[in-house]
Symmetry: C2
Subunit: 245 residues, 2 copies
């Protein structure tokens, strides 16, 4: 039924694993699995951006036709997305993009608080303080401009850069996966929070404090400040909840 494990040293020459980011060089396998990975990434992107709205039904045949993949692959992708918590599948009724109610959004923010905090701490520990200098400049200059000009699109883009840099620096694959999964579900709400009265200004100040902590290599402070940032975002959401949801 199951085979005993091999001598345990074999992992060294590990093959490209499915979930791993495929290297640009390994373009060989035309295998449909590659397409399945792409399909999953595409759907995650479209769901996160709300191009596919919460509550929408995902039809297997339609997706198969659109992406020109067999229905079985669509099925596998939907199973994966269900495990990620992005969709719900009900027997014989198909898959639906999850719709978060207010309670679930707050629950998610509790998780984001501790996970983003850990991410800030690890990022600080794994890098040199000097490597954050470009972020100091970005948030002192352009980002402050964006806030003053109410250019929220650019502000969000800059925030995304900081966030991705921190995740990359944290270098913890499981953490990365969890943060991505959460982010995909709440990206739409995050965008709506940023435009709340005074939120962008306040958020900018908090981000600068986090960056300053990383810039001086203070991992504990970076974690604490990042957590405070998440809590304050949650407070803004609570105050304006009737406008956001």
């Amino acid at each position: 039924m199951v085979t005993r494990p091999p001598p345990a040293a074999t992992d060294a020459r590990k093959r490209m694993v499915r979930t791993g980011s495929r290297s640009a060089t390994a373009a060989r396998p035309r295998s449909a699995i590659r397409q399945a990975v792409d399909l999953q990434a595409a759907l995650r992107e479209r769901i996160a951006s709300q191009e596919i709205a919460p509550g929408s039904k995902l039809r297997e045949q339609a997706l198969a036709a659109e992406y020109k993949v067999p229905r079985a692959q669509v099925r596998e992708t939907l199973i994966a997305l269900e495990q990620r918590g992005l969709i719900e599948r009900v027997p014989n009724r198909g898959a639906v993009v999850v719709r978060l109610d207010l309670t679930q959004v707050f629950e998610t923010y509790d998780l984001r608080e501790v996970l983003e905090g850990l991410c800030a701490r690890l990022a600080t520990q794994n890098t040199t303080p000097a490597s954050w200098q470009d972020m100091v400049k970005l948030f002192d200059g352009p980002m402050a401009q964006y806030v003053r000009a109410h250019d929220y699109e650019s502000f969000i883009a800059g925030y995304g850069r900081l966030r991705r840099r921190m995740i990359e620096a944290a270098a913890n694959p499981v953490l990365t996966s969890m943060l991505d999964s959460i982010y995909e579900k709440t990206q739409a709400i995050i965008r709506r929070i940023i435009i709340l009265p005074g939120r962008a200004e306040h958020g900018l100040a908090e981000h600068r404090a986090v960056i300053a902590a990383m810039r001086r290599g203070d991992a504990a402070a970076a974690e604490r400040l990042r957590r405070a940032n998440m809590r304050s975002a949650k407070a803004w959401l609570r105050r304006y909840q009737s406008f956001v949801l």
Copy 2:
């Protein structure tokens, strides 16, 4: 391709969702999906307990024959387990139970620290202080006995009771899912840490401190103490790493 979402009020009469815990009454659908859920639970259990050792290959046909389910269902289960991080699937080579190296174990402990800490905080906030009285008694009496008697099996069982109670009280589904996923991967290592010299005694004292904080309704202290507990477990692991792995 995707349908627009319905008027959004329809969620009230939500059907039994696949991943949700099935109620005992709803025994109607003999549907194979029920079996698939059971199969996933069974495999998770067997992998966590290391009845199926890390590095083992999981063969679709063999599992299908053993559990008397079609191969397609085994396939779906394996996809779900891959998403959970319990197995790795390599194209054309099948599924293998993940083998954690030392680095990954430490990474996992960083995650456990913040997630179990959050769990302790939420559990404290969601319950009355008095509801933890039975845990106070359990850890003052029997658990102390188990440590003195080196009855590690009972000690682990008691720890599991506390842990499950806290997760249940936290009442955050996504947190629950993340903690379960981590626990399944590291259960074997947790068991090996507890028997390290002095670990059970030290752990017992830390658990009692966490429980005392919950018993007096101090959520912040509960989180801080639970995090300290995880860090100390990690320190023990670091000190004795050559014996554990």
